[in-house]
């Protein structure tokens, strides 16, 4: 049993939810899938005065809206994996979700928005959202803000979401049909947290070569991303050079009990190179 007393609310409308967030601020916690919040309350590491369960709010839909894929913030990884809209519109997101660990229960319970708001440097989600150019839609009593994923992750476990805001949607530009993508990660055991993740979206345009969008997670305190334009059929040496450019971007390296100082920066280029090669359809080495 959770040791501290708290108020549980399952608001029937956004207005009520946003009122609660406005009143309680940092003393409120919003349930995503519960996979982080609930055990942290059980172990007394997080002691919110009020828990807001948005189960009655429409936050679980995946829809296509014009040139965007719109994901409700409480969409689970399992929904992402099963969605043909995601497979067509943001295939990298599906590839990431397929590699989430913890078994089918966690894949069904964990949510993309919950992971984003948690802002754990080691999560699969943040760098993937940055690679995809996602926009985070934040609602509060004052209105709606639209924050790009590249500006959402500020520091370990700190995001641009204010205490009175609720992440309602994540919007993705539709990935070009000409693009291919890859998600690779280094982890030390089947069920472990990722040590470094690498996202790559490769797009070939007639006359303008190969455009590569790369985002690295886990290695820095927040995701790092860069873009490269190169020949349509880059050599292995060129791919290594491109991968190597990730290392100097890791200015605030993330280190923990799984991988100490210097490790993640050292291995990041190797994981990026795997993602590049995978995206270009080259055989695994």
């Amino acid at each position: 049993m959770i040791s501290h007393d708290f108020q549980y609310e399952a608001p029937e409308s956004f207005d009520i939810a946003l009122d609660l967030l406005s009143s309680f601020g940092s003393e409120a916690a919003v349930l995503g899938g519960g996979t982080w919040l609930v055990p942290n309350m059980t172990y007394g590491r997080h002691r919110p005065k009020v828990v807001i369960d948005p189960k009655n709010l429409p936050l679980r839909a995946i829809t296509r809206s014009g040139d965007e894929l719109v994901l409700g913030s409480r969409t689970s990884y399992a929904q992402v994996i099963d969605s043909s809209s995601v497979a067509d519109g943001a295939p990298l997101l599906a590839k990431m979700a397929q590699q989430v660990t913890g078994g089918p229960q966690i894949v069904g319970q964990g949510t993309v928005g919950g992971s984003a708001c948690y802002g754990n440097p080691s999560s699969d989600v943040p760098a993937c959202l940055v690679a995809l150019g996602a926009r985070m839609i934040l609602r509060s009593k004052d209105g709606t803000r639209d924050v790009p994923a590249s500006g959402f992750f500020l520091a370990p476990f700190v995001t641009a979401k204010r205490d009175d805001e609720l992440l309602s949607e994540i919007r993705f530009p539709i990935t070009s049909e000409r693009a291919s993508c890859a998600y690779e990660k280094l982890k030390f055991s089947t069920g472990s947290w990722p040590i470094v993740t690498a996202n790559c979206i490769a797009t070939t345009s007639v006359g303008s070569g190969l455009h590569l969008k790369i985002a690295v997670g886990g290695a820095n305190e927040t995701p790092v991303a860069y873009e490269v334009v190169t020949d349509t059929d880059p050599s292995e040496a060129e791919l290594s050079n491109i991968a190597q450019r990730s290392a100097p971007l890791i200015e605030r390296e993330w280190a923990d009990e799984f991988a100490g100082s210097g490790y993640r920066r050292s291995v990041a280029p190797a994981i990026v190179r795997r993602a590049l090669r995978e995206a270009l359809g080259r055989d695994r080495v």
């Binding site: 049993m1 959770i2 040791s3 501290h4 007393d5 708290f6 108020q7 549980y8 399952a10 349930l31 899938g33 519960g34 996979t35 609930v38 055990p39 059980t42 172990y43 828990v51 369960d53 189960k55 399992a78 660990t101 913890g102 078994g103 089918p104 229960q105 966690i106 069904g108 319970q109 089947t190 069920g191």
Partner: protein, 163 residues
């Protein structure tokens, strides 16, 4: 302490209880004659508390009891049907357990898995139980039992369609 009235379906029966908002779902169901569901790590790692909630397997230590208001829950006590019978028989025949603490979660998950997957490979079985820890490390027998159950189900289907 805040009590909240909670009603849900547990193994097909409507149940109503006064739940403390601090209760985890696994704690609430264990108080309702369904103590076969185990409390393991309370971190979401071990899977001993796995139940079916609205048709999907969940780790019930990661769910607040009050969140389950209106839900339909199936625990090990309520697992029934062809797949569940095949899984239970195979676990016994193969000694798919040592201390037994993980068994209810394993059986729930294997039953759900085999109701979706007719002819799983060993790798697929291992992936399916990736969220359930057997701390006795008896995985080989558990994986073999799930494989046996899959084959038994295939034979039953073949007999049915052949007849």
């Amino acid at each position: 302490m805040r009590k909240q009235k909670l009603s849900f379906k547990l193994n097909g029966e409507d149940r109503i209880c006064e739940a403390d908002s601090r209760w985890l779902l696994v704690e609430a169901i264990r108080q309702l004659d369904a103590a076969g569901t185990r409390v393991g790590c309370l971190t979401g790692d071990c899977g001993a508390c796995t139940i079916m909630m609205d048709g999907a397997p969940v780790k019930s230590c990661l769910v607040l009891a009050v969140s389950a208001d209106g839900a339909s829950l199936t625990t090990i006590e309520g697992t029934s049907g062809q797949a569940a019978d095949a899984v239970k028989t195979a676990f016994v025949a193969r000694n798919g357990f040592q201390c037994g603490y993980c068994t209810s979660g394993m059986v729930i998950l294997a039953t759900e898995f085999l109701s979706r997957k007719r002819d799983p490979s060993e790798a697929e079985i291992r992936e399916a139980i990736a969220g359930n820890l057997c701390r006795c490390t008896g995985y080989d027998d558990i994986v073999a039992a799930i494989g046996d159950a899959a084959r038994a189900l295939q034979e039953q289907h073949a007999e049915k369609s052949g007849a």
